[in-house]
């Protein structure tokens, strides 16, 4: 079991560019979660899917952020027109119940 896989581990973008982050959940897990972590705001819930369907996106910024789960083996978080304030570690987690298992995160730096 490779655990939750996130790619890339680090991404640097220029202001205004697009960033796509990938997450491969643990095989057999039905739920996928996305979080954003910064020093100032701490760990923030963004969105989650269950059986590929979006369930709760209450934490997603209304503009520029979108998430998809086209199949059970991966989910993507896309940020359009990235801004310096989007710089953070983006964490993906998967679960088959209440316990969540986290990936190592993608560190996004927007210059």
């Amino acid at each position: 079991n490779a655990g939750v896989i996130q790619t890339p581990r680090h991404k640097v973008t220029g202001k205004g560019q697009e960033a796509t982050l990938w997450c491969e959940p643990i095989s057999g897990h039905s739920a996928v979660f996305w979080y954003r972590q910064t020093i100032v705001q701490g760990l923030e819930f963004l969105t989650y899917f269950r059986n590929q369907a979006p369930i709760d996106d209450s934490g997603m910024p209304k503009e520029r952020f979108s998430a998809q789960m086209p199949n059970q083996s991966h989910s993507t978080l896309k940020i359009q027109s990235t801004q310096p304030q989007d710089s953070a570690v983006y964490l993906c987690a998967s679960s088959s119940g209440p316990e969540q298992y986290f990936g190592p995160g993608t560190r996004l730096t927007v210059l």
Binding site: L43, L91, P98, F102, P104, G105
Partner: protein, 113 residues
Amino acid sequence: AQSVTQPDARVTVSEGASLQLRCKYSYSGTPYLFWYVQYQRQGLQLLLKYYSGDPVVQGVNGFEAEFSKSDSSFHLRKASVHWSDSAVYFCAASRTGGYKVVFGSGTRLLVSP
């Protein structure tokens, strides 16, 4: 609203000393409760969980936590800390049978030599 509060942002203890990290929750009913640990530049790892039954639950690396319904608390304890326990610890809760987890703000633990 459902919430998890970790009142201590930072805790420093000497190696070999005992440890308690505090966690209070606000949930209707009895939630599922968790402690996660995050080492430098890594994701969160599950330390232990409480669903029901014995209020004292054992986790990995000698950690344990005690659930108190009367106090709405789920404090984490360790009898003797090691320098490698230095990390950020998150308390979390979810409603019974739920998937979405609410995390506390985290407590940064520094173990001094």
